[in-house]
Symmetry: C3
Subunit: 239 residues, 3 copies
């Protein structure tokens, strides 16, 4: 299985162009759009979402991960092998948290892209590599130290909003397993208690809970947390 | 074929997570996103869309239907068999109109979900059931009276807007077969006549017509009916 | 491979309904959504996007192309064979630029649609034809002169914005191969120089570049060109 984790958009041609390339190079391999609308250029937000949303996929899954503000520049592309799955994309920090948490990590650095577009490495560089990996083929790349993946100044958990979903729920970069259920969370002057799920609080009430991928999420029962709390991607929270 | 009929969003991870689960549990079964952007939590609107948009699918199709304001609460999940197709989802009224109109209906109640997320039964409860049905396997569930599906106070046709499409057309819960073509419809002070199709009226003119799924739809030729008429999901219409 | 190139929307039921029809009629043929959100009813904009984004697909690809302000009217449907690929859709100019640039073009005119919806020929007329072509079957249609595809007053390159992507980049109908890299482009009073790619200019700087499909695109490094330059689909540019 190839899983797309990008900021390409559900609209427009980019996700389709990548899928078409994968179809040509790895015919018959299922392709799943996990995220197509990560916050554009926000590598840090994506880095904290990736290990949470990649968890649970079967061994051998290939994640094609692109949030790439430096496309066309000199940042290298990498292939990361972590706990049995493959991750392919530009190395601008996207794999930092994944690698830090994984038990077993290896890293390959892709050679500089030649003869391809300078603005769409997702289609021209990373999709062909993902297709090869999905087919069990060798990728021409050099083993390098996983230290190149790290962002030493990034915390283990990120106390800010990293994604707003369709319902207005605000997903944070904080693992729920790191917070006690009795802990209040503070955001924009609102104090939020935790609840198991939506139906445990009154309609219209704001709360935080451990979402279905293990991250702390700010929510309102049958309401839009982003509007009620005035939060957006980047909004900081605190204990 | 498995058909998704949800409010999970075309954006974000939820539709992809469900597709990934289906891929793992029913590999090779085609999955179609029919609706991913039903009005959040508006079970009634979805209930009137379902029989109109489920019509025409081949016998044996499995519809995974989730609009679930009560997720995590005590509402049971059901499997509905209606006129040769399967419908799986939470029982909060979503299948009421479908069951009322179907010639042959049976209902199974799923046992309470144990050991799964309390906020994403679409992925953790209903997708596995849909996968089993699509593979022709037995689902562990108890036969119950179809009376549990009913919402006795809901009308046979719903005179309100249930979906606004990309063009700004306003789909209603009213079957076109129940309205005479000479009938005027009234909405927000506008009187609308019927037409066969867009090109039958002047550019910019508002009208109603029998849409391609048999529902009354408010439209404007090459214009946006939602803006011209000031309607949104929930807006009431009358004769 | 069947490729969808439409204004049906990524949201709503239409793309899913077409995919379901294709699944029934051409089971096993991969379907790619290239564009689902072309500007509604803007046939001219779509006509300049089509040859740019159809390039590079393998011989035998079937493009299902629908931007159809005249649906239900008397405009005929056509099947265009151009340089080894098939294109199916309503003949309102959508194939004019593609045909003009292709080396080898043939055109079939579909018989008038009978017994189908008057508002959704994408599902009821063109999808069945695309499915037949993808399966290598004959389509009942009459060969006609390709002159019927032409829009003689449309220029070879269109100096206006034809699509705004998710990042706010403004794609134009002007082929980059027709402009010298030293050429300044003018839009809404802004003078834009060209650059190879985003990382070649300062963060926040506006520029134009040859995008990954060969069209001139107006962009801002890590910013939204549509907002910075005040452009939308239809905005005119000049040298």
């Amino acid at each position: 299985m190839i899983v797309l984790f990008t900021d390409f958009g559900v609209e427009g041609p980019y996700t389709g162009q990548v899928q078409a390339r994968l179809q040509q190079l790895a015919s018959g391999v299922p392709v799943i759009n996990l995220f197509s609308d990560l916050e554009p250029w926000d590598v840090e937000a994506a880095a904290y979402l990736l290990p949470a949303y990649a968890a649970g996929f079967p061994s051998g899954t290939v994640f094609l991960c692109v949030v790439d503000p430096g496309v066309g520049g000199s940042r290298p592309g990498v292939v990361v092998s972590a706990d049995g799955c493959w991750y392919v994309g530009p190395n601008e920090g996207l794999f930092a948290i994944l690698a830090r948490r994984a038990g077993c990590v290896e890293c390959l650095e892709l050679p500089p892209a030649v003869g391809v577009s300078s603005s769409f490495h997702g289609r021209d560089v990373f999709a062909p590599v993902a297709a090869r990996l999905a087919r069990g083929l060798r990728v021409e790349a050099e083993g390098v130290s996983t230290a190149c993946l790290e962002k030493p100044d990034w915390p283990d958990d990120l106390l800010r909003v990293v994604y707003i979903d369709r319902y207005g729920n605000a997903i944070t970069g904080l693992r729920a397993s790191k917070v006690d259920a009795s802990q209040m969370l503070s955001v924009n002057g609102h104090q939020l208690r935790s609840a198991q799920t939506f139906s445990d609080v009154g309609v219209g009430e704001a709360f935080w809970y451990a979402n279905s991928s293990g991250l702390v999420e700010l929510a309102v029962n049958q309401g839009c947390a982003d509007r009620v709390l005035g939060v957006e991607v980047g909004t900081v929270l605190s204990f």
